[in-house]
Symmetry: C2
Subunit: 303 residues, 2 copies
């Protein structure tokens, strides 16, 4: 399915796009957005600040439990990370993809596909976007934050025809016009092929970082397990028995390393066994070895 | 009065800053913002979209009638263009400045000082910012749109201490983080002196454009009068008797020139004699002579 340029709205990063879209949905009468019970608190705050209520979907190894939509969960929109659930790492399986699209079609609801690291798949071809199978029900949200830099604040929404005017109007009366310079630069990068080369280069670099982290932890902290690393820039590091998240975060902090616990990304009532959410894309290249050593030391029981 | 860096919030142009600030004021219970009866419709739309009601202040040759505040007008905030009223061109006089600051202090209200072209004064030293006389009541809003380029989307708010945390929180939960690259670049320009040089250069260039426009219209359309040109990038062109704004706009459009009528910038009930609001900053340098010729032709009764 070809994307119509008129349906693409450039915005200041994913968070800005989510706010515009949520506001537009609220304005057309939506009251509730379903979200994955594991994710970024910022996204939850952004949605709630528009007046929409949140309802949580459990997540298992086939992705979000979208079968709840229209069954036990009433919502007019659902925000999902189908390519690589953040932070747990699952891919939304094909049956569930069909299910959520059918729900959206039956109920006139909107699916927001947060493809935050769709470009960074290490084990197979990129997972196809849901937007391509239901462009009139799915909003595709992309970002240059991982492929170029988060500080650029460049993201884009591919909108169903029926939402374009409404989201453009919200953008106008929120005074949110993205930088023309940045847009021209990104367009040049895309048209000239440089963006694709950058994504491939970044994918290779991130994959190497992931492999180094896995090797370092296997050597220095063999009783931790790692999951969610077939794609993306984060790993879920499951901790040895008897350790709490707070304890390891403190040990890492004492070594000058900031890490977060899974609890920070978990909705109330969905707590799991303690784990760290370790972003391996952040440290600059020259500091990566030292950061890995600190992480391993924080997890190493003998230290 | 020195500005504390912690009180400066960089935002995506003035319109974005106005939306953040209006949202924060609405959240703390404000219901109404006073605005000048002549101004940009976009700003009115942005304020109203946050849930604040608008109330209009008349404008005369001493600026906005701020004496109405707390008298016939009830509002918890006022948006003003004290340095150069847009689009009429008056400077808010000293007695009125004192008056509006006293009103804000007495009532705990907030004045938003839109200093949209404070740098572009042609007849005297720059008019001092109101913010400097009452930094705890006045929000200063600046922009790089006129001095650098509107497409950059770079503006800044200097906030009273009591508002900083609230506006920062609105910015966070609206997902509106300005580009780090742009901020670093602007900081470099300011610290290194290049920004000041650019403002001086731009002021001279704009002044030349203004003088050329005045000369061209005096020659080709001697029965029009021009006002509001002691500062800024716009002129108010008062039309010969018997012409309507729509007629001249159509004649200009037929010649490939887009101009706007004063009516587009006027609140209901405040209509004045027909005039054009002519922005002379927009045409690229190579097209400026042709644009002036078209404007003169549209206003020339003999054509």
């Amino acid at each position: 399915v070809a994307v119509r340029p008129e349906n693409v709205l450039v915005c200041g990063g994913f968070s800005s796009g989510l706010q515009l879209l949520s506001t537009a949905l609220r304005r057309r009468g939506a009251t509730t957005m379903a979200v994955e019970a594991y994710g970024l608190r910022l996204h939850r705050d952004i949605i709630e600040a528009t007046g929409l209520a949140l309802v949580d979907l459990p997540v298992d190894d086939r992705g979000a439990a979208v079968d709840r939509l229209g069954d036990t969960v009433e919502a007019q929109a659902a925000l999902l990370t189908p390519a690589h659930q953040f932070p747990l790492g699952a891919v939304l399986d094909p049956a569930r993809r069909r299910r959520v699209v059918a729900w959206a079609a039956d109920t006139g609801s909107i699916v927001v596909e947060d493809d935050y690291d769709g470009e960074f798949r290490y084990d197979r071809q990129a997972v196809g976007a849901m937007q391509s199978i239901a462009p009139d029900r799915v909003v595709y949200a992309g970002t240059a934050s991982k492929s170029l830099a988060p500080g650029l604040r460049l993201g884009w929404l591919v909108l169903p025809e029926e939402l374009v005017d409404e989201v453009v109007e919200v953008r106008r009366c929120h005074g949110r016009f993205p930088s023309t310079l940045d847009q021209i630069t990104l367009a040049e990068l895309i048209v000239g092929g440089a963006f694709d080369r950058q994504v491939r280069k970044a994918r290779l670099a991130y994959r190497r970082r992931r492999d180094r982290m896995v090797a370092e932890l296997a050597r220095r902290a063999p009783d931790v397990t790692i999951s969610g690393i077939a794609a993306g820039l984060h790993a879920l590091v499951h901790m040895p028995d008897g350790h709490t998240e707070g304890e390891i975060i403190e040990r890492a902090g004492a070594r000058g390393l900031a890490v977060q616990g899974l609890r920070d990304f978990t909705a109330r009532g969905f707590e799991r066994a303690p784990a760290l959410v370790v972003g391996f894309g952040t440290p600059p290249e020259h500091a990566y070895s030292a950061a890995l050593a600190r992480l391993a030391a924080a997890l190493d029981r003998s230290e």
